[in-house]
């Protein structure tokens, strides 16, 4: 059983609210790890701070629950120091893109072999519902009581532009197909980003009158279009829709591998 193999009993119950999308996404991550056949002893899960980042504590690997926003910087040290480890980063939209935005773009640029899952619930859940860099304009949060006038990032476009070599998007509603995207992200020898749209019924849902968790999952279903289907649609038909699926897959030289080659070259006495 997946749960028996990968969850830490002693850490249960988890902190997530009923209806929270984070658990669904974590399950997709574990299915992907199983499918990709990763060695449990050679896989390190790193996270930052937030409801989503609590996920690292729940899973039975070497796990590193770091400081807010810094998961990718810690993960970079782990991966570079021991490149044979598989490193997966679990992070929230605030963690990855506000306080951690600089580390995010530089990890993309370096194309270091780390797979990053961004749990995007469009809000700071942990601190009770302030707006994040992924809160769409016009939406409400405890710190945007009149509607958000900050514009939001498209994390997938950002990752692509900054140099990530595999980029995909899915949602908690699409939990069945998400593992395959994560498997490909893991298999990509380079920096991979999977945006996993999550729901926070407790804060984002309530403030924005989106109904129950089920209603929010339905919203995910209704407002997304698969990338293949999207290719056949006109821009007007895609207005306001979120495109899901594999968005970018373009391998490039990977950072730690190049460093290994440098070591081999120097130790081979060529210079």
């Amino acid at each position: 059983m997946l749960a028996e193999k990968y969850l830490r009993d002693a850490m249960m119950p988890h902190i997530w609210c009923p209806g929270c999308g984070h658990g669904i996404i974590l399950q997709a991550v574990l299915r992907a790890i199983e499918k990709a056949g990763l060695d449990q002893d050679k896989t390190v899960i790193v996270s930052g701070i937030g409801c989503s980042s609590r996920a690292s504590g729940y899973v039975n690997f070497d796990t590193l629950h770091t400081t807010h926003g810094r998961a990718l910087a810690f993960a970079t040290g782990v991966k570079l120091a021991k490149p044979e480890l598989n490193v997966i980063v679990l992070t929230g939209d605030g963690d990855a893109l506000a306080i951690g935005g600089n580390h995010f773009i530089h990890a993309c640029r370096r194309n270091i072999d780390i797979t990053t899952i961004v749990f995007n619930n469009s809000i700071y859940g942990m601190t009770s519902g302030q707006y994040s860099p992924m809160t769409p304009a016009g939406k409400f949060a405890t710190t945007s009581p009149y509607g958000n006038i900050d514009r939001n990032f498209d994390v997938c476009e950002l990752a692509k532009a900054a140099g990530a070599t595999y980029v995909a998007r899915s949602t908690a509603y699409h939990a069945a197909s998400m593992p395959d995207l994560i498997v490909k992200a893991i298999k990509n020898k380079g920096f991979s980003v999977v945006e996993a749209i999550s729901q926070c019924p407790t804060y984002y849902g309530r403030r924005n009158k989106m109904g129950s968790a089920v209603d929010m999952l339905n919203w995910q279903k209704e407002n997304t279009v698969n990338v293949a289907a999207a290719a056949r649609l006109q821009p007007e038909q895609l207005a306001g829709k979120i495109i899901i699926g594999e968005l970018y897959n373009n391998p490039a030289p990977e950072f730690t591998q190049q460093y290994e080659e440098l070591i081999a070259r120097l130790q081979g006495g060529e210079e």
């Binding site: 830490r8 002693a10 850490m11 449990q40 002893d41 050679k42 390190v44 790193v46 701070i49 690292s56 504590g57 039975n60 690997f61 070497d62 796990t63 590193l64 629950h65 770091t66 400081t67 810094r70 910087a73 810690f74 993960a75 970079t76 040290g77 782990v78 991966k79 570079l80 120091a81 021991k82 044979e84 480890l85 600089n102 580390h103 530089h106 460093y259 440098l262 070591i263 120097l266 130790q267």
Partner: protein
């Protein structure tokens, strides 16, 4: 074989010491007057199979060092004032999670961007209390190029032995000054390796409170342990149970406080019959040595107290001499930081004269000598 004799900067001696101690990972971000350390290690580390990375900032550098250390690598970062400020949150993370590493701060004048190329000793309190929360700290501060080499090795040894970050302080003068140094083939002090768990994997307690310093497994060795900046139980899992919180925080203090004999280092000159003492460290101690010599030539009974370990503060260095002293001079390149610690350690038994200067210039031997003549 005979040792290699070289003319090195303090920063270069730090690199030699780190490599002799077994450094295998460095992450940093350039900042004067520490940059030579990063530059030299970018060249040296890959040659010994180690890894260097220039991160996007000092926050990331500190983070990467902790991540690397958790895989078992001896790890270090180096910076100066502004960067040291940025490292503080993750430095606290390393203290709480007990991840060995060495953090070098080659001090320049502050606050803020301050005096980038001038010496200062104004971060000694930041080294103690820069990160939030109650935490133990070890900070070392050498005063010559050969001593930088040796103290760097000791910094790694203490970090590995006590599972804690160790702060290695220098000032711009110590970092940039060149001196003759002998580099032996084998390190002058034995190199300490981290203690690894020997218990069956299921029984491993990364934060076992029954010992001062629990062994540390490496990521990838199959222990599958959890590391978190939340207060944690012996297993490493988050807890807010008061008894468990207290047990952890107490052990963190104890592992340092009950091993002071091993951690505290200092040098004294002429203290046997001294009636006046000068307390000084780092580059200031070099001026103090000269002042003490000149005063001795004039027949004044004066000595030098030079802490090498500045945190934990070496109370005993002071207290063992209070009964014989008529006056104590404290000289430091700041507006008064360690002097308050010295005052506390004297328990009001010795009048203290402050020689403080924070204008970007070294305190001259003459300035200290004048103070000696005033109080003798």
């Amino acid at each position: 074989m005979s040792p290699t004799v070289k003319l090195l900067q303090g920063n270069e001696a730090c690199v030699e010491g780190a490599l002799a101690a077994g450094l295998r990972f460095f992450a940093g971000y350039p900042i004067t007057p520490s940059t030579e350390i990063a530059e030299a290690l970018s060249e040296r580390l890959p040659r010994v199979g180690g890894r260097f990375i220039q991160m996007e900032d000092e926050i990331a550098s500190m983070a990467a060092v902790i991540g690397a250390s958790l895989t078992g690598a001896k790890a270090m970062t180096a910076t100066s004032g502004p960067g040291f400020s940025l490292k503080q949150e993750n430095l606290g993370f390393a203290m709480l999670t007990e991840v060995p590493c060495v953090v070098v701060n080659v001090m320049r004048g502050g606050p803020s961007t301050g005096l980038p190329t001038s010496p200062a000793q104004a971060d000694v309190m930041q080294a103690r209390w820069g990160t939030h929360g109650d935490h133990p700290v070890i900070a070392l501060y050498p005063a010559s190029v050969p001593e930088v080499y040796e103290v760097t090795i000791k910094a790694f040894n203490l970090a590995e032995k006590f599972r804690t970050p160790v702060i290695l302080l220098m000032d711009e003068v110590i970092g940039h000054m060149r001196e003759r140094i002998e580099l032996p083939d084998t390190p002058p002090v034995p190199v300490v390796e981290r203690q690894r768990p020997t218990v069956p994997k299921e029984d491993y307690l990364p934060y076992d409170n029954s010992q001062d310093v629990p062994p540390l497994a490496s990521f990838g060795d199959g222990y599958r342990f959890h590391v978190t900046g939340l207060i944690h139980d012996q297993k490493g899992y988050p807890t807010s149970a008061p008894a468990k919180v207290e047990a952890l925080l107490t052990r963190l203090q104890n592992k340092i406080q009950s091993n002071l004999d091993e951690i505290l280092m200092w040098e004294t000159i002429g203290m046997e019959d001294a009636e006046v003492a000068v307390f000084a460290y780092g580059a200031t101690a070099r001026s103090a040595v000269r002042a003490v010599r000149i005063a001795r030539e004039q027949g004044i009974k004066v000595g030098l107290l030079r802490p090498i370990t500045i945190w934990p503060f070496p109370d005993k260095l002071i207290s063992q001499y209070t009964s014989q002293l008529k006056a104590l001079i404290v000289a430091e390149m700041n507006l008064g930081q360690l002097v308050d610690e010295v005052e506390r350690a004297t328990k009001g038994q010795v009048p203290i004269k402050r020689v403080l200067q924070a204008n970007g210039e070294l305190i001259a031997p003459d300035t200290i000598l004048r103070a000696v003549l005033e109080v003798k």
